[in-house]
Symmetry: C2
Subunit: 388 residues, 2 copies
Amino acid sequence: MPFHNKPVMPKGFSCASKNCGLKIDEKDLSLFYSDTPAGAAAVFTINRFCGAPVIAGREIIRAGILQAIVVNSKVSNVGTGEQGISNAKRMGAAAARELGIPAGSVIMSSTGVIARQLPIELIEEGVKGMKKLLTPDPLVGAEGIMTTDTYSKALSLSAGNSVITIIGKGSGMIEPNMATMLIYIFTDAEFSAEELDSMLREAVHTSFNMLSVDTDTSTSDTCVIMANGLAGKVDKDEFLSRLKEACIGMTKLLARDGEGASKLLTATVNGAYDEKEARYLAKLIINSPLIKTMAYGADPNIGRVLMAIGKGFDCHIDRSKVEVSIGGKLVYKNESRIDFNEDEVRKLLSGELVDIIVELHVGNSCATAYGCDLTEGYIKENASYYSS
Amino acid sequence: MPFHNKPVMPKGFSCASKNCGLKIDEKDLSLFYSDTPAGAAAVFTINRFCGAPVIAGREIIRAGILQAIVVNSKVSNVGTGEQGISNAKRMGAAAARELGIPAGSVIMSSTGVIARQLPIELIEEGVKGMKKLLTPDPLVGAEGIMTTDTYSKALSLSAGNSVITIIGKGSGMIEPNMATMLIYIFTDAEFSAEELDSMLREAVHTSFNMLSVDTDTSTSDTCVIMANGLAGKVDKDEFLSRLKEACIGMTKLLARDGEGASKLLTATVNGAYDEKEARYLAKLIINSPLIKTMAYGADPNIGRVLMAIGKGFDCHIDRSKVEVSIGGKLVYKNESRIDFNEDEVRKLLSGELVDIIVELHVGNSCATAYGCDLTEGYIKENASYYSS
């Protein structure tokens, strides 16, 4: 594993979290801070009902410099009109005052219930004194941004002299086009905002944008990268390759902790006509409820995989060339089921990973998508989640 | 209700069903028959892994004349290569021999497990003697085509002097682009194959193609209409309007009996930019797992509806104009939640229907989509369905 045993904030970064009264007991407010202004880039949800912090964030990130991120959980500030935008800005301003930095160098996120106004006074009051709580432990910051996640998520790895640390939350209402809900990437490497922007987009393309828990794209998805340069210059190729690794690592953590999930589900499509079709087909597989329940049931159901590929109505598919492997076992080739030991494959699928590989043999492109199984846990969680 | 209290096959039509040994005890083979050759049309799944009967059926329907339909359940004859095509043809030929009609006037369907060869000898043997079992009760024919349906489905209504009777099965692996698995429409009205084809496509457009149980498009979806003309000519406009009614009626029956479903879920989008966007958005709503679980939980969750609309990334949406009603109650307008009595709405949603209406106010097009809630029942059914 390339990841550090214990994640740590890179040089000059710190974070804090606390309860400010939005939730009853649990932490609901997090702050991420760089001692010095950092180059920054971000990508956001493309959901048309995006939240107020996303609307405000798109403006803020244009300058390419950030020094802090403030995040609340419990209320998402979505579907809240002009008052929502104003509240988002007040939240950023409150964090800037506490940290003694310009308001324009703070980006905001909110996650939780939709169509409720943010209790902004609680947040303004809560953020006071948080500077004293700042710590280099990223899991502390991760705690305040959780909603239905079952544990806080952070990972670190090295890239040359620098460290890359990702803090994330996910769980439900997650599908591509900025799949994850909230992802914050910190590094002490030195890069310009432009370089960060292009590297972030490239890394997100094969990681968070290939993640789907339930096909439902959140209105609040945000992924920010900040680079304060305290570790100096790092080879760009090496950095990008480590950044991709880190993003895929966090993608798997989020998928595995999808609402109600008991397994990580991955689908790889090889030999596709082009990358677009490879990505589309891989996502069709991980998004199919019948495949998700098959993963849960640990059953190597060839029919459901063929069905899912067949939903690529406009893709280049030659039925006679398709090969399917489930759990590393070739199960379908030459338009017929291969005789395999089903009990053996069921055993392979009963662990924490269900892995589907499809060889199309019509081109040279490939893609991998990340998801999870669909269990009674997802139903229970979402049928009993009251919006008020 | 426009439907007859008791469905009946139109003049000159009859059907039969029996167990031929594919299933242990339950009926697994059905025959539908017209005393005289009938004008006919059909639409099929667009899944790229379509079954052998679909491939063969596309050829057969070109002549525009049918006299019988033979259907087996338990094995779908999908992913079976050349041998599958040959078996499908043998199945049609066996039915033609039994009925004493040309092989080319019989269309075949198979539904059930994928990637297993059809036990064709059992079917050839089983179809013998079925002519003597023919009855005018459509529910008898409906019994032999069931897979995970919880009850057999047929309905009849009058169109002028004629009768329209639809027999259908559905339940899982169902989503638009020929949503339903197997639908057979019989009428004694007199129409040419061309007229039937255009009317069928128009009726399917607003009914079965707006149905989704789980977004998974079956490899076997087939919808056939046969018109033997024994009731003479019927006004075409009147017939089409009754045909649409009948198809929507069957669509609701199939949605309500979706795998594990406890409720019918409908979504209507009004004031859309064009019909394509109205249909797309209505389907986004009924397909969202978060909305499906919200329906199950009888919770009026505005956020999930906004999120689902927002997934129309390329649609014309003006956030400030969107209005949402749930269970007949206006809950969101002017970019804010309307103060409503939540317990009252929960009571409205706790029945057999959850109805979502979205007013976009950007155009004049509308569409309604049909689905069902997502419950533990769906998970149980599909996680324990073994493919062998």
